[in-house]
Each structure stands twice: as C-alpha cells, then as structure tokens.
C-alpha cells in the first residue's frame, strides 16, 4: 500500500489526534515486537487505518506509555497490543512482502537488488505472518497474479483491474456477520480507490516508461480526469455509506475524518499534481 489513507489533521479533535498517533505508534511497536526491526520500517498510514477499522467497537481507548525505538529517549502514548493490531501487523507484512517480490520481478538485477535484499531479510517474518493469516496470503497471491495477467493483456476495463486490488484489500477483514459485510464493502471500495489513485499518480511516469497504465488503457494516453474523479468519488460515497452502518465505537469520528475529509484531500492532490509534495509532509509536525 502507498500511504494514501491519511486523516485531515487540522480538522481532528485533540483526542482523535492522540488516538491516531497512539494507534500508529502501537502498530509500529507491534510490528517490531512480532516481526523484528526491518518489518517496522514498513509501517505506514494505510495500515494504521486498517488497524482502526478492525478494532473491536466496544474497546475503549486506553493508551499506555511506551518507548519510541526511533528515538529511545522519548516516551509516547501507545495503544497496547490487541487482536486488531496483530492482525493489521501480520497483513501489512504479507502485503509488503508481495510488493517487494513484485519489484524484484519487475526490475532488472541491479535496480531490484535492494528489494531482493529486503525481501531476503524479511523472509522469516513473512513466514511467521503467513502462519497467522494463511487465507489472506493466499488471496493476495491469487489477486496479484490475476492483476499481472490483466496488465499483460493490456486490459481496457478500469473496473476489472481495480477489482483485483479491491478484492485483495477486502479479504483483510473477517467476513462474518453484519460487521463483516460492512467492513468488506468499505475495504473493497477503499482498495478500488487506492488502486485508481495510484494509477492516476503514475500516469505520466508510465507513459514515459512505456508501461501499462489502467487509466491510459481506459481513457487514452492523456487520461480523463473528470470521468476518473467521478468514478473515484462514487467509491468514496460507497465507503461513507458503509461506514454509517457499522459500529466503530470511539474510533468513529477519526474514521469519519479520514473517509470524508482525508481521502478527498489526497484525491484532490493526486489530480492537481501536488501529491508528491504532500506525501513528504509529516502529519506529526505539530508535536515537538
């Protein structure tokens, strides 16, 4: 995943900001404890959102102080280890692993060297994560294979290519019961939206490199921003509709902020080209 899913911080209440930060730090610590230091380097905002979604709604927010391993002199409030964090950590590791394998496969020997080394370092952690979420690993592998096949045949259907990544993300949540239905609908459209945002972001680059790009394949080499935004907004709307039907307890305002404000802001930035700048911005900048 790519870091597209972030909150709109100026609109967050202080307690929601604390909750977000504690979840982020908690996920980092969970990754480090379970899968080692290298794994925690791949922590990002998208997985934090996943952890927030998966959290049991009746669980209250009870942060406990923990030491930040990036700067061990600082003690920060962190969410204690929980089922949701462990699930999100395991799933993020599996996704990172497959993304690395993908780069090894796509790039040449020298360019893919870094990915090769990292995936070699992560291998034991990956195996451990697969033992915890075997079904998710299977779905990710199948969906990525399907996606690669569609890319090879230069598929012109935007929905079909996006569907592979959407189903991949959909399988990150347990599917049982009404809660499972709400989560899988939400994650399906989140996956679809992320895939389309990433495709739009790579449009120029892919054109220069002569690579396949789903947006170019659907709308022609220049893309069609109006039509693409419309279809992306429809996915956002479906996410909002699903969010309203689920029970998310004290995490609801934060999730609403991300879905209703954060994602549209990122979308805007992707379309007007300011995303590359925005991406580098730290959302923790107002903390000293």
């Amino acid at each position: 995943m790519f870091g597209y899913v972030r909150p709109c911080c100026p609109e967050l209440k202080c307690r929601d900001f604390d909750l977000y930060r504690a979840t982020y730090c908690g996920l980092c610590r969970c990754l480090r404890r379970q899968y080692g230091f290298v794994a925690s380097m791949f922590l990002n905002f998208d997985f934090t959102f996943l952890a927030l979604l998966l959290w049991e709604p009746e669980d209250r927010f009870v942060p406990c102080p923990g030491r930040c391993h990036v700067n061990p002199l600082r003690r920060l409030p962190m969410c204690p280890d929980s089922g949701a964090l462990e699930l999100a950590a395991g799933e993020s590791l599996i996704l990172v692993w497959w993304k690395l394998r993908d780069s090894v496969h796509d790039e040449g020997f020298w360019k893919g060297l870094a990915a090769r080394v990292l995936s070699w370092l992560l291998k034991p952690a990956y195996k451990k994560a697969v033992r915890r979420c075997p079904r998710f690993d299977g779905t990710v592998r199948d969906c990525l294979e399907e996606l690669a096949a569609l890319e090879k045949e230069n598929c012109s259907s935007l929905d079909r290519t996006a569907d592979t990544f959407a189903r991949l993300l959909q399988s990150a949540a347990p599917q049982e019961g009404n809660r499972g239905r709400v989560l899988s609908q939400l994650l399906y459209h989140l996956g679809r939206w992320i895939y389309l945002a990433d495709a739009r972001d790579d449009l120029e680059e892919d054109k220069l490199a002569g690579r396949y790009n789903p947006v170019a394949a659907r709308y022609g080499p220049g893309g069609d921003d109006g039509a693409l935004r419309m279809t992306m907004n429809l996915s956002l709307e479906q996410m909002g509709a699903a969010l309203q039907l689920g029970d998310f307890g004290c995490r609801r305002p934060l999730l609403e902020n991300i879905v209703y404000l954060g994602l549209p802001l990122v979308e805007q930035a992707v379309f007007d080209g300011s995303w590359r700048e925005l991406k580098k911005q730290k959302i923790w900048r107002n903390i000293t």
């Binding site: 079909r160 429809l234 309203q244």
Partner: protein, 191 residues
C-alpha cells in the same frame, strides 16, 4: 424493542422539535436513496425501520395516534419475463446468476443496459455502471427509471450523505439537495 429515545439519540425530556430534528438527521443518513442498489441496503433498511418505529412510538406517546414517519417502497415492472427474473436475482444479491441470465439475452435494449448497469453498481464496478446507465438512457430517453438511476449516480459522485461538520469546501449540501428536493424524507429542501 430498544428505548425509542436512545434509538434517536435524544433524552426523554427533549422537546418535540429536538426529537423531530434528530429523527430527520437519522432519516437523512439512512434514507433508501442513499443505499439504493447498495449491497448493504438491507442493513440500512433495518436502521430506517428502527428509527421510524421509534419516532412513531414517541409521537404517539406524546400526541396520541399521530404518526409522521416516512415510508417508501420501490416497485418496478419489466417488459420481458427474463428481465423480471434478473431483477429478482439482483435483489436477492445473486449477481453471478443474474449476469449469466442477462448475457443469455440476444437483443440488447435499454432495459438490458439498465440491468447490466445495476449489476455492475452492486459489484462496485462504478465505471461500467455509469456507461451502462448512460447507454440505457440514450436508447430509451423517456424511461424515468433509467434516467433516475443515472442522475442519482451523478449526484452521488458529488458526495452522498455526510454527517454535520464533514462538508468539504466547494460542496454545498443544500444546493445538491435542492436539485432533488424530493429525495429528502419530508419531500422538501433540506434547509
């Protein structure tokens, strides 16, 4: 049944206006139009039913016999029997079967594209849904059902329901709601 006041999220001694306001906000949130053809429509319907019952109970308790809640049902008729079967399958959520049945139809008319669009929408394939709805409207411009589906989709792409405080810049909910004032539960503009 749950306490009607907690369903609406108001206290027992809330004024009639407060109850009405809370009811309207919730009805706006779970309105069938927001979930039309959505795979989670049944969950929204349950919520809507719960809210309606709670509001009815409160108004009855307070005024005796008066009921002001909002109910709506959708009905649609198909020209061909196979389309009626496809519609039933879509409503039951069996999209694979519906798709198979629809692809077996030889001649593609407006309703074919409309149903194909509905299946795509349910699946979350918004681009294909938009194309198919547009094709249906183009083939049968006078069909209100097709036109409504297309315009609802266009409206949604400008943003659906949002709780108070989450209206992004450049999106005025009142103007979007004014164009479809019939969509508000009380059949008028939202403010």
């Amino acid at each position: 049944m749950r306490d009607p006041y907690s369903v609406l999220g108001v206290s027992q001694n809330a004024s009639d206006d407060e109850v009405k306001k809370a009811y309207r906000e919730l009805a706006r949130k779970y309105h069938p139009d927001n979930y039309q053809n959505n795979p989670l429509a049944d969950l929204a319907e349950e919520k809507m039913k719960e809210i309606n019952e709670a509001y009815d109970t409160i108004t009855k308790q307070r005024a005796g016999g008066y009921s002001g809640s909002y109910q709506q049902s959708y009905s649609s008729a198909s020209a061909k029997p196979v389309y009626a079967r496809v519609r039933n399958l879509i409503n039951a959520g069996d999209l694979g079967q519906a798709e198979q049945l629809l692809y077996g139809v030889g001649q593609k008319d407006g309703e074919w594209y409309f149903l194909s669009g509905s299946i795509a929408y349910r699946k979350g394939w918004m681009d294909a849904a938009m194309q198919n709805y547009a094709q249906a409207v183009q083939m049968e411009p006078n069909n209100m059902e097709f036109r409504q589906a297309l315009s609802l989709m266009q409206q949604r792409s400008m943003g659906g329901y949002r709780p108070a405080g989450y209206h992004s810049v450049g999106c005025d909910p009142c103007t979007t709601y004014l164009c479809c004032s019939l969509c508000t539960p009380w059949g008028g503009p939202c403010c």
